[in-house]
């Protein structure tokens, strides 16, 4: 499948879809606001189309290190009560969340 060119402009429908993927409620005024602003930022990205990137390897690490492992031995960890104390709602030593999938 051909990938869309980076010049393709972002639509209000894209913005609504992305807001759902990002779990970020936005109202109608914000949809319009973000559609305009994101389009402007993405427009700049078309500059990159001037570059031949076909033989370039993507750079994913600033300072390459590999297989960073430690010995598999017990180490101190965070205090459970202290961590739970910072939660908006904790119960019986666990994080309490609202209903998931309609289950109480």
């Amino acid at each position: 499948m051909a990938s869309p060119s980076s010049g393709s402009s972002i639509s209000a429908a894209d913005v609504i879809k992305v807001s759902r993927l990002a779990r970020l409620d936005i109202d109608d005024a914000q949809v319009e606001h973000f559609t305009q602003q994101l389009a402007k930022v993405l427009e700049h990205f078309t500059d990159v189309d001037a570059l031949d990137l076909s033989d370039v390897q993507p750079m994913t690490q600033a300072y390459p290190l590999s297989n960073v492992l430690r010995q598999d031995v017990e180490q101190p960890c965070l205090d459970r009560d202290e961590v739970l104390a910072a939660a908006p709602h904790a119960e019986d030593g666990r994080f309490r969340v609202p209903t998931i999938n309609g289950e109480a």
Partner: protein, 479 residues
């Protein structure tokens, strides 16, 4: 009262020898805070009581003849995106307001062990996203040199704290220029070390492949001293480079004789003329001190800003997924979990953070990944390759830090791209993972400070500090 030492090195020496007490030094800084903090708003939190207790402990240790650290009694301010055990850490965001971390960042632990005294947590653009601190949920920080102007950002509070004498040194974080640009705009020294030289454990993540912690200071020597204390391997950060901290203090006075310094002939334009004039002055100073000035080209850096503004939001959209109202911070009331996530994040994040989460989510979403994020990572490689080629010819490269001096509030808030352009000279080092620092060097428009940026290859902190030492000496003659 006799005048107290002001630089970190002088304070630590005086406190260690017992000629002044840590408490006296602290009270002087607290007095400066009392006098001007209402105007400047450098801090989200001032930790007066714990600072006084810490200073008393150090004074007791000195009196008892116990050894104290290389930063004994040095007042320190921390950007409020670094975790401090039991002390509120907000990232200047409503979503984390009131959160008390259950652990200290590695840098916080190392500075405390060295005897530095935390006076407070400093203001920032929310989650370090911005170049002016105008994106803080708790109101902007003002530039201590001109209260009608921004201090830069995102570490604007940390830069202002040092410039205003609220602390002798401070820490910031730099993802695209967030230490160097505010250092330039506030007339102080700011350092972004090599990626991986300083542990990021306990730094609230923005863009993990770019973020790096570094110091602000009034002198190059102080910046070297603090960098030495916080640098070196940490097993809690899997990107930490497995080698000890370099000796940077001795580099500051080594001079630049026979060093090769790069002048970028294809530097992106748009800098104020006075800023470009200071850059030329800096080259003259270095040439007179025995360095050879060599023309270099970095043809891909004109694309750095574009690549950065895809890569950083993409990483941010992933990192900020953790603010979901479950484990810490804000939770908006809702009867179902998905509704709770959406409402919590809508209520907790400010406009710029939302914009970057949206952009990053879009760039990473199915069908767009290759066109945006994939391409941006390739551009990142081209930029790193450009630097590799340049560093076969030179030891360090000089550019302006910021295209402009401190600008008035509101100047760029409505236009995200105009704000992003503040970082045009600082972003390339983050993409490459290289060290870079800003040194105050004379003034530009409105008699406001100009910062010169010194860039060096990975782990090139020693040549970078050699250049910085020479520029600092020359700048003393300018003011």
């Amino acid at each position: 009262m006799a005048s107290l030492p002001t630089t970190a090195a002088e304070i630590a020496a005086a406190v260690s020898s017992g000629s002044v007490t840590a408490s006296e030094v602290l009270e002087q800084h607290l007095a400066a805070i009392t006098a001007r903090e209402t105007d400047v708003h450098a801090f989200n939190l001032i930790t007066t009581d714990t600072a006084r207790q810490h200073a008393s402990r150090i004074d007791a240790d000195v009196a008892a003849g116990k050894p104290v650290g290389v930063l004994a009694g040095v007042p320190l301010a921390l950007k409020d995106n670094m975790c401090t055990h039991g002390v509120e850490t907000t990232c200047s965001s409503r979503i984390l307001q009131g959160w008390k971390p259950p652990y200290d960042a590695t840098v916080v632990q190392r500075l405390r062990d060295a005897g530095a005294i935390m006076v407070g947590k400093t203001n920032l653009d929310e989650f370090a996203m911005g170049s002016s601190t105008e994106n803080s949920a708790f109101g902007p920080t003002k530039n201590p040199l001109d209260l009608s102007r921004v201090p830069g950002g995102s570490s604007g509070g940390s830069a202002a704290a040092v410039a205003a004498g609220f602390s002798a040194v401070s820490l910031g974080s730099d993802t695209g220029g967030s230490i160097r640009q505010p250092a330039a705009l506030c007339g102080v020294v700011g350092v972004k070390p090599t990626y991986g030289l300083v542990s990021r454990y306990g730094l609230v993540a923005f863009a993990s492949s770019l973020d790096q912690i570094g110091p602000f200071a009034n002198t190059v020597y102080d910046a070297a001293l603090v960098t030495e204390v916080i640098a070196g391997h940490d097993s809690m950060d899997s990107t930490s480079i497995p080698q000890p901290a370099p000796n940077l203090r001795s580099a500051v006075s080594q001079g630049v004789a026979r060093m090769r310094i790069g002048r970028v002939t294809d530097l992106p334009g748009g800098a104020e003329p006075e800023v470009m004039q200071r850059l030329e002055d800096a080259f003259e100073v270095l040439a007179a001190a025995g360095a050879e000035i060599v023309d270099v080209t970095l043809p891909s850096i004109e694309y750095a800003l574009t690549a950065y503004y895809l890569i950083a939001p993409a990483e941010a959209s992933s990192n900020l997924a953790r603010y979901d109202g479950v484990r810490y911070g804000l939770r908006a009331p809702a009867s179902e979990v998905n509704a709770m996530y959406g409402a919590t994040r809508a209520a907790g994040f400010g406009d710029e953070v939302k914009r970057r989460i949206m952009l990053g989510t879009y760039a990473l979403s199915a069908g767009y990944f290759d066109a945006y994020y994939g391409k941006a990572l390739k551009v990142r490689r081209l930029i790193a390759d450009d630097f590799d080629r340049a560093y076969t010819q030179v030891d360090a490269i000089l550019t302006p830090t910021s295209p402009m001096v401190a600008f008035p509030f509101g100047d760029k808030v409505e236009d995200p791209m105009a704000m992003y352009l503040c970082d045009v000279y600082t972003i390339p080092s983050n993409l490459a993972g290289h060290p870079a620092m800003s040194v105050p060097f004379g003034t530009g428009a409105h008699k406001l400070p100009v910062g010169i940026q010194i860039m060096a290859p990975a782990l090139g902190e020693i040549p970078m500090f050699r250049v910085a030492g020479v520029l600092e000496d020359a700048a003393r003659g300018l003011s």
